[in-house]
Symmetry: C2
Subunit: 205 residues, 2 copies
């Protein structure tokens, strides 16, 4: 593309560095900003700068936080003895939205993925190991997405924590509530039969 | 969504103000920036700020430009007597890419669209009228998109320029090069027959 302005070209280039945003979409977004009030652009720029320079991670669970200890870890009503291992802040938000979990989290910051150059040392696994080693943790729940990378990461952490003899569990895989059996994939349906639960338990919720 | 950080929430909110970007996509983009080098975010913020505060519009054609007179208007090899009326800088870029046009442009900054609250006074129509009035313009080419708003805008400008007795034309509508007739819509095909051109003319390019 042949831009009539270096400023425009630079803004479009930087915008198109975002995932899923090509040059054309970037140009559309930037032209939208130009038609809006100047404040909108300045606020966007400021919010991004503030976030990137001021962001903190909870020293206990590594979740994004404005304070040294995140709200969940600082809350005395949450059970510190249960730790749910998740990939990133989106998973924390998703689980919090269910209002079904009262324990702590441990945010890995990714999944082991050799293809993307992400190894165990790039994640917060060592910190989880130390947390368990120092005592007080009774159960670790694996809640990573059910992909090759997720399963690999689960297994790696499982092996790392084996020596401490704590309880480990993984979230249930099965047919989604409201889904029709006939459209479920075989692996999921198969697992949902293998890991069936007593009927009375299903009445509790 | 319940964010663990005000900084994160603010950045996601500002990002989701962009057209076509919802809260979820905004969160994905912002988390992507957090995983990248800090420079990437700062450069994006700076490019947007520079663009919004430093942008100029060519005083002659109203195209985005870093200088008072854009490169096209400042180029003595371009014919100032032909003015192509377009909606925004994207159309200028598209036409420039064809290398088929050697005249000047006039960027309207939008189309007349009562539903969106855009009237003639919001566009650069008055400036076009003055340009024509002051002489030197022989032909005005309408190159707005072929929609209700585009046609309305074309007609409005046409009526405004009528008194000056200059030549007005509109870009040809027809079957795209490489397209099959059987898949063309009836209006386009109908127009392409009504506005047929001498066969020898089609050989020139």
């Amino acid at each position: 593309m042949d831009f009539s302005s270096k400023l425009l070209e630079q803004a479009v280039y930087e915008m198109s560095q975002l995932p899923g945003i090509g040059k054309r979409t970037a140009l559309r977004l930037v032209l939208h900003l130009l038609r809006q009030n100047e404040n909108q652009t300045l606020q966007l720029a400021e919010a991004l700068t503030n976030l990137r320079t001021g962001i903190k991670f909870c020293k206990n669970c590594h979740n994004i936080s404005d304070t040294e200890l995140c709200e969940i870890c600082a809350n005395p009503n949450r059970e510190a003895s249960i730790v749910c291992v998740v990939e990133d802040v989106r998973d924390v938000m998703a689980i919090e939205n269910t209002s079904q979990y009262r324990g702590h989290y441990h945010v890995l910051g990714g999944k082991i993925s050799p293809l993307d150059g992400v190894g165990p040392q790039d994640l917060t696994i060592q910190s989880l190991k130390e947390k368990v080693k120092s005592g007080g943790v009774e159960e670790v729940i694996f809640a990573l997405s059910s992909t090759m990378e997720g399963d690999t990461t689960n297994f790696y952490i499982y092996r790392q924590l084996e020596e401490f003899g704590i309880k480990t569990s993984t979230i249930a895989r099965g047919i989604a509530v409201g889904d029709e059996l006939e459209y479920a994939d075989e692996v999921t349906l198969g697992r949902s039969i293998l890991h069936r639960i007593p009927f009375e338990n299903s009445l509790k919720n």
